[in-house]
C-alpha cells in the first residue's frame, strides 16, 4: 500500500494552480435515526486548487456534513469524493488518516484545542505526527504570523476566544497542508474578531497557494471568497453576487 500513499503525500506543493483538487460526485448522506433523515441527495462539485471557497446555507442544510465528507471525517451514504483523482472510498482508515495528517488542516467553530497542552504543544502536535518534532522555529514563525508570539506557554483556557481560534488557525497550517477545511471558524466570535480571523486565513492561504474551504453562515466574511456555494433543499448551488 506504500505506493499510492506516498503519491498522495508527495503531490502537495507541485500541484499546478487551477487544476481540480477535490471532486465529489452524487454525494448522498442520510442518517438512519431518528427517521431516515436525508441531509442531501446527490450533490456534485469540484474544488480547484488554490481557491477560497465558501459554503453558506441555513442551519441544518448539511454544510458541516459536506465539509466532514470532504475531509474524510465522515463517510457518505453513497457517492464519491476524490482528492487529486484518488477516490477516498477506496482508502483504508490508515491511508485516510495519513491524508488528513499531511494534506489537510481543520479549524472548528469550538476551536477544539487540546486543553492539556500548551499553545506551543498544540502546534507541535501536528508537526510531531508528521515526523517534524524538532521544528520549534516553525512554531515560533506561525505564532508570529497569527500575532500570538509570547503566548507559547499559555494553556488554551487562559486565552480569549479570538486568541484560541488564531491558535487553531496556526495549528491547521503549521505542518504545511494544501487544503484547509474550516467549519464555522467565526461562529463563536464577534464581527471584529471574525473579520480578523477570516482575513488572516485568507492571507495565509493565498500567500502559500493553499486551498481554503470554509463553511459559514455569515455573509459578511463572504466577500473575500473566490467562489460561494450554497446548499438549499439538498442541492448544491453556486451563488453569484
Amino acid at each position: 500500500m506504500a505506493a499510492p500513499l506516498a503519491e498522495v503525500g508527495r503531490a502537495v506543493s507541485r500541484h499546478p494552480c487551477g487544476a481540480p483538487l477535490i471532486e465529489f460526485r452524487d454525494l448522498v448522506k442520510r442518517y438512519e435515526s431518528p427517521q431516515d433523515r436525508i441531509v442531501f441527495d446527490g450533490i456534485s462539485g469540484t474544488i480547484v486548487a488554490g481557491e477560497f471557497l465558501i459554503i453558506v446555507g441555513r442551519s441544518g442544510s448539511g454544510k458541516s456534513t459536506l465539509l466532514n465528507l470532504l475531509g474524510g471525517l465522515d463517510r457518505p451514504s453513497s457517492g464519491h469524493v476524490s482528492v487529486d483523482g484518488h477516490p477516498l472510498s477506496v482508502l483504508s482508515d490508515r491511508e485516510l488518516t495519513l491524508l488528513r495528517r499531511r494534506r489537510i488542516g481543520f479549524i472548528f467553530q469550538a476551536y477544539n484545542l487540546i486543553s492539556t497542552l500548551t499553545v506551543r504543544e498544540n502546534l507541535l502536535l501536528p508537526l510531531e505526527l508528521n515526523g517534524l518534532a524538532g521544528a520549534t522555529d516553525t512554531v515560533s514563525q506561525w505564532l508570529d504570523r497569527v500575532g500570538l508570539l509570547g503566548l507559547e506557554e499559555a494553556y488554551p483556557d487562559q486565552l480569549s476566544g479570538g486568541e484560541q481560534q488564531r491558535v487553531a488557525v496556526a495549528r491547521a497550517l503549521v505542518h504545511g497542508p494544501d487544503l484547509i477545511l474550516a467549519d464555522e471558524p467565526t461562529g463563536n466570535l464577534d464581527l471584529d474578531h471574525a473579520t480578523r480571523v477570516v482575513a488572516l486565513l485568507d492571507e495565509l492561504c493565498r500567500s502559500s497557494g493553499k486551498t481554503l474551504v470554509m463553511v459559514t453562515h455569515s455573509r459578511e466574511v463572504a466577500g473575500k471568497a473566490d467562489r460561494m456555494l450554497t446548499i438549499r433543499e439538498g442541492r448544491l448551488l453556486e451563488v453569484r453576487e
Binding site: R94, L98, N112, T116, L117, L125, L129, D157, R171
Partner: protein, 836 residues
C-alpha cells in the same frame, strides 16, 4: 415530573454505558463492604464454633488431685446445687499391642450430658443410627467410637473388637462406630461412655474432671465455696493452644481487611457519583443560564444520585451476599479443617453490616453528589459550562484533599504513637490509610506533571502524561481507591510473609532436638527413669527434659514451662531483652525466670522486675531474667529451670523429652530404639522434628487461607471498580479524541494514546501504593499484631507482592482502556465532534 428533573433523568439514559458504570460502581462499593463483612462474620462465627467444638462453650472446669474426683461430687452438683450444664470426663492412657504398642487416650464422657455442652462433638455423631451409637455406648461394656484416622491406623472397622493394655491388665474394646475426623485433631483418642472408661481404666467411682458452664463470677464463687478440699474450680478461658493463637491473629487481620473494604467502598461510591455530576456541569450551566435555581439544580442532581444510589445499593446488597457466600464457599473448599465449612455454611447475616452497606450506598451517594453539585450550581453559568474552570477547582480540591490527607495521616500517626490499645491502633491505622489515600490524587498529578517536563518537545508524550493530571476531576478518587486497594494487597501480603518467615525461623530455633517424646495426657508415663533410659541409648548425645504445667492463678492459668536445660540448649533461645549471660546465671540458680514476649506484654513486665507465683511452698517471687521470643502461646509462658521447679512445685513429672542425636548417628536406628523404649507406655509418643515443623507450617498456612482469599477479593473489587471508573473517564473524552483523529491520529495511535494514558494512571497509583502498602504492612506487623499478641516479628519484604501490586494496578488500568479504545477507534471522527 419537573422538566429540570426530566433533563437530569434523560442525561442518565443518554449515556447508558456510563449509567451502567455508575450503578456498578455504587453496587461494587456496597457489595465489597457487605460481602467482606458477611464473610468475616461467618468465618469468625465458624472459628468460634470450631473452637467450641474443642472446648465447647465450657466456662469452667473442676480438677482434683492426682486421683481425680469422686463421681459423687458430680451427682451432688446436679441434684443439690442445681447445675444442669455440666458434664463428667474420665480419661486415661491405654496401648494397643497389635498396632506396635500404639498409645491411645481413652476419653470417657457421658453422652447424654455432653451433648448440650459440647454440641455432641466429643462423640462425633453421624446422621443415621445416632440413636444406635448412643445406646450402644451406654449399654455395651467396652464399646468405643474411634476417629476415622485412628481406626485406619489400628486396622479396625465398626463392629470389630481389639485388645488394649492398661497397666498389667488386658481389656477388649468394641468399635461401635467410626467417626469422621476431618480436623485431624482427634487422632489418638478413643471415645467411650464413662462407665466403660471407669471399668477399662480400673477407676471405678472416679472422674478426671468436671466441665461446667457457669453464668458468671458469682455462680463460680458459690460453687467454689461448696467444693471439697482437693477439688479446684478453674476458668477455661486461658486454655492456650497453637490453634487459638493463629485464630486470634487471623481475626485481627480480618478486622483490618474489613476496614480497608470500607475505605475502598467509600471511594468507589464517591468516585462514581461525583463523576456523574462532573459530566453534567455543562448542562447545569445551561440550566442555570435559563433561570433554574440552585435549589432545583441540587434537587435534580440529588434525585439522580439517589436513584443511582438506590439501584446500585439494591444490586450491591444482593451482589455482596453472593460475594459473601462465594467467599465462604471458597474458604470452605480451601480449608482442610472440615468443621469450619460446616459451621460456615450456616451463613450469618448481621443487620448492622447490611445497614452499613445501605447507608454507604444511598446516603454516601447523595453526600458524594453534594459538593460537586453545589459547586456547579454556585459558579456563574458561563463558568459552569467551561471545563477548564472545573479543572482549576478540582486542582484546588486536590490540594485541599492532600492537605486534609496529610493532616489525617499525621493524626493517625499521633494516635498510633501515643496510644497503646488495639482499638486505638485500628483508629490510627484507618487514619493513616485514609490520609495516605487522600494524598494519592495530588501526588499522581504532581509526579506526572513533573515527568512531563522531561519531554518538552514531545506533545504526544506530554499528552499522555498531562492527561493524568488534567483529568483529576474524574480520576482523582479512582486513583485513591486503586492506591488503597493495591496497598492493602501489598500490606497484607508483606504482613503474612513477615509473620510466616518469623514463624518458621522460630520453629527452627525452638525445635532443635531431633526427636520429641511427648506425654499425650496429664497422667502420662514420661518420667526421669524413662529419660535416663533414653539418655543412655546409642546415638543419643543429650536430652532436654521438659515439663509443662498450667498453674492455677487468679486470672485463670499461668503456663509454666520447666526445662532441664543445659548450656547447649540455651543458645536456641531467642532472647529479646536481657543480658544472655546474666539471664543464664539467674535462670540456672532458680531465682530468675524467663518470660515469653506475649507474657511480658500482657502483664507489662520488663527485665529485672518481679513476678510472683503460687508454688507448693507458698507464694514465691522471681526476677524476670530475660524475655524470649515464642509464638507457641498467645497468653505467654513462664520458663523456669526444672530442678528449681521440682523443688518449688513438688512435681517430678515430665511432659516431654527432646532427644538430640550425636553427630553421625543413624536417625532411623535411633528412632527404632526410641519406639522400643516407649513401647508399652500408655499415652507416650515419639515425634520426628521435621514432621512437627511441617505440620506447624501447614497449620499456619491453612489459617491464613481466608486472609489470602479476602486479600484477593479486595484486589478483585478494586480491579473491577477501577476499570469502571477509568472506562467512564475515557468514554467522557469522545470529543477530544475526535479532534485528535481530525488532526491526523490513526486509529492505532488513538488506541495507543488511550491505553497509555490509562496505563500511566494505573502505574502512578501502583507506584504510590508501594510505600503505602509497606507502611500498612509495617503497621500490621509492628503495631497491630504487637498490640494484639505482644509478638515481635522480622519485617520480610519479598519482591513478589510488590510486583503483583503494580501489575494489578497497571493491569486494571489497561483493561479499563480496552473498551474505550475500541469504541474510539470505531467511531467516525465526525460523530465524535458532535458529542457534547
Amino acid at each position: 415530573m419537573q422538566i429540570v428533573l426530566r433533563a437530569g433523568r434523560r442525561a442518565l439514559w443518554r449515556h447508558p454505558m456510563q449509567l451502567l458504570l455508575a450503578v456498578a460502581g455504587v453496587a461494587l462499593g456496597v457489595a465489597v463492604v457487605i460481602g467482606m463483612d458477611l464473610a468475616n462474620q461467618s468465618a469468625s462465627t465458624a472459628m468460634r464454633q470450631s473452637m467450641e467444638a474443642v472446648t465447647g462453650r465450657i466456662t469452667h472446669q473442676i480438677f482434683g488431685g492426682p486421683e481425680g474426683l469422686p463421681e459423687a461430687l458430680y451427682v451432688k452438683l446436679r441434684t443439690r446445687h442445681g447445675l444442669w450444664q455440666t458434664a463428667p470426663v474420665l480419661t486415661g492412657g491405654v496401648t494397643v499391642a497389635a498396632a506396635g504398642d500404639r498409645s491411645l487416650t481413652l476419653f470417657g464422657i457421658d453422652p447424654i450430658a455432653d451433648d448440650p455442652l459440647r454440641g455432641g462433638s466429643a462423640v462425633p455423631q453421624q446422621g443415621e443410627g445416632t440413636q444406635g451409637i448412643f445406646q450402644d455406648l451406654l449399654l455395651d461394656a467396652g464399646s468405643v467410637v474411634l476417629p476415622a484416622e485412628e481406626a485406619q491406623r489400628l486396622g479396625v472397622a465398626a463392629g470389630d473388637t481389639f485388645a488394649v493394655q492398661v497397666g498389667e491388665q488386658q481389656r477388649r474394646l468394641h468399635v461401635v462406630a467410626v467417626a469422621e475426623d476431618s480436623a485431624h485433631d482427634l487422632s489418638g483418642y478413643a471415645f467411650t461412655d464413662i462407665a466403660t472408661a471407669q471399668e477399662v481404666l480400673g477407676r471405678i467411682g472416679r472422674l478426671s474432671r468436671i466441665d461446667l458452664i457457669l453464668a458468671g463470677v458469682d455462680e463460680a464463687n458459690r460453687i467454689r465455696a461448696t467444693l471439697p478440699s482437693g477439688a479446684m474450680l478453674v476458668p477455661t478461658a486461658t486454655r492456650a493452644t497453637a490453634m487459638q493463637q493463629m485464630r486470634a491473629a487471623f481475626q485481627t487481620n480480618l478486622t483490618a481487611l474489613s476496614l480497608l473494604a470500607l475505605v475502598i467502598g467509600l471511594f468507589l461510591v464517591f468516585n462514581t457519583i461525583s463523576f456523574m455530576v462532573v459530566q453534567r456541569r455543562r448542562m447545569i450551566g445551561i440550566l442555570r443560564a435559563v433561570g433554574v435555581t440552585r435549589r432545583q439544580i441540587l434537587g435534580q442532581v440529588l434525585s439522580d444520585a439517589a436513584l443511582i444510589g438506590l439501584v446500585g445499593t439494591a444490586l450491591g446488597v444482593v451482589l455482596g451476599m453472593v460475594l459473601g457466600v462465594g467467599l465462604v464457599d471458597l474458604v470452605g473448599r480451601n480449608s482442610t479443617d472440615n468443621s469450619l465449612p460446616e459451621a460456615i455454611t450456616r451463613f450469618q447475616i448481621d443487620p448492622l453490616s447490611l445497614a452499613k452497606g445501605i447507608l454507604l450506598g444511598i446516603v454516601g451517594s447523595m453526600l458524594a453528589a453534594v459538593p460537586p453539585a453545589f459547586e456547579a450550581a454556585t459558579v456563574p453559568p458561563r463558568a459552569a459550562m467551561d471545563r477548564s474552570e472545573l479543572e482549576r477547582q478540582v486542582h484546588r480540591g486536590a490540594r485541599w484533599a492532600a492537605q486534609f490527607g496529610g493532616l489525617t495521616l499525621f493524626a493517625g500517626g499521633v494516635i498510633l504513637a501515643a496510644s497503646s490499645g488495639l482499638i486505638a491502633a485500628f483508629i490510627g491505622l484507618f487514619g493513616v490509610i485514609l490520609g495516605a489515600s487522600l494524598l494519592a490524587p495530588l501526588a499522581s498529578a504532581r509526579s506526572t506533571t513533573a515527568l512531563a517536563r522531561f519531554f518538552p518537545q514531545r506533545p504526544i508524550v506530554r499528552l499522555v502524561l498531562r492527561g493524568v493530571a488534567a483529568s483529576l476531576s474524574r480520576t482523582g478518587v479512582a486513583v485513591a481507591a486503586l492506591a488503597v486497594a493495591i496497598s492493602a494487597m501489598i500490606g497484607v501480603a508483606v504482613m503474612i510473609d513477615s509473620f510466616r518467615g518469623s514463624f518458621i525461623v522460630w520453629l527452627q530455633q525452638s525445635l532443635r532436638a531431633d526427636f520429641y517424646i511427648a506425654a499425650m495426657q496429664e497422667r502420662g508415663t514420661v518420667d526421669d527413669a524413662l529419660a535416663k533410659r533414653i539418655e543412655s541409648l546409642p546415638g543419643v548425645a543429650f536430652i532436654t527434659r521438659s515439663r509443662r504445667y498450667r498453674l492455677p492463678s487468679a486470672d485463670g492459668f499461668t503456663a509454666i514451662w520447666a526445662l532441664g536445660l543445659e548450656r547447649q540448649g540455651w543458645q536456641d533461645f531467642d532472647i529479646r531483652a536481657g543480658d544472655r549471660e546474666a539471664a543464664w546465671q539467674a535462670f540456672r540458680s532458680g531465682t530468675g525466670v524467663l518470660i515469653s514476649e506475649p507474657y511480658a506484654y500482657k502483664h507489662g513486665l520488663r527485665v529485672g522486675e518481679a513476678l510472683a507465683l503460687h508454688t507448693a511452698l507458698g507464694e514465691r517471687t522471681f526476677r524476670v531474667a530475660g524475655i524470649f521470643r515464642d509464638y507457641g502461646s498467645p497468653y505467654g509462658v513462664v520458663l523456669i529451670y526444672r530442678p528449681a521447679y521440682q523443688r518449688l512445685f513438688d512435681d517430678d513429672r515430665l511432659s516431654g523429652l527432646g532427644v538430640h542425636l550425636a553427630a553421625g548417628s543413624d536417625r532411623g536406628a535411633v528412632h527404632q530404639h526410641l519406639e522400643t523404649a516407649i513401647a508399652g507406655l500408655a499415652g507416650v509418643r515419639v515425634r520426628d522434628t521435621q514432621s512437627i515443623r511441617e505440620h506447624s507450617v501447614a497449620v499456619f498456612d491453612q489459617e491464613f487461607v481466608i486472609t489470602s482469599v479476602l486479600r484477593s477479593l479486595a484486589a478483585l473489587v478494586a480491579f473491577v471498580g477501577v476499570v469502571g471508573a477509568l472506562m467512564a473517564l475515557q468514554l467522557d473524552r469522545t470529543r477530544e479524541l475526535a479532534v485528535l483523529r481530525a488532526i491526523g491520529f490513526t486509529r492505532i495511535q488513538l488506541g495507543g494514546l488511550i491505553t497509555a494514558q490509562s496505563g500511566v494512571l494505573g502505574l502512578a497509583a501502583g507506584l504510590f501504593a508501594l510505600p503505602m502498602g509497606l507502611l500498612l504492612a509495617w503497621l500490621l506487623v509492628f503495631v497491630i499484631n504487637h498490640r494484639a499478641f505482644g509478638w515481635s516479628m522480622e519485617f520480610t519484604i519479598s519482591p513478589m507482592p510488590l510486583l503483583e501490586g503494580i501489575g494489578l494496578a497497571v493491569g486494571a488500568a489497561l483493561v479499563a482502556a480496552l473498551y474505550p479504545a475500541w469504541r474510539a477507534m470505531r467511531t467516525l471522527p465526525a460523530r465524535g465532534l458532535q458529542e457534547e
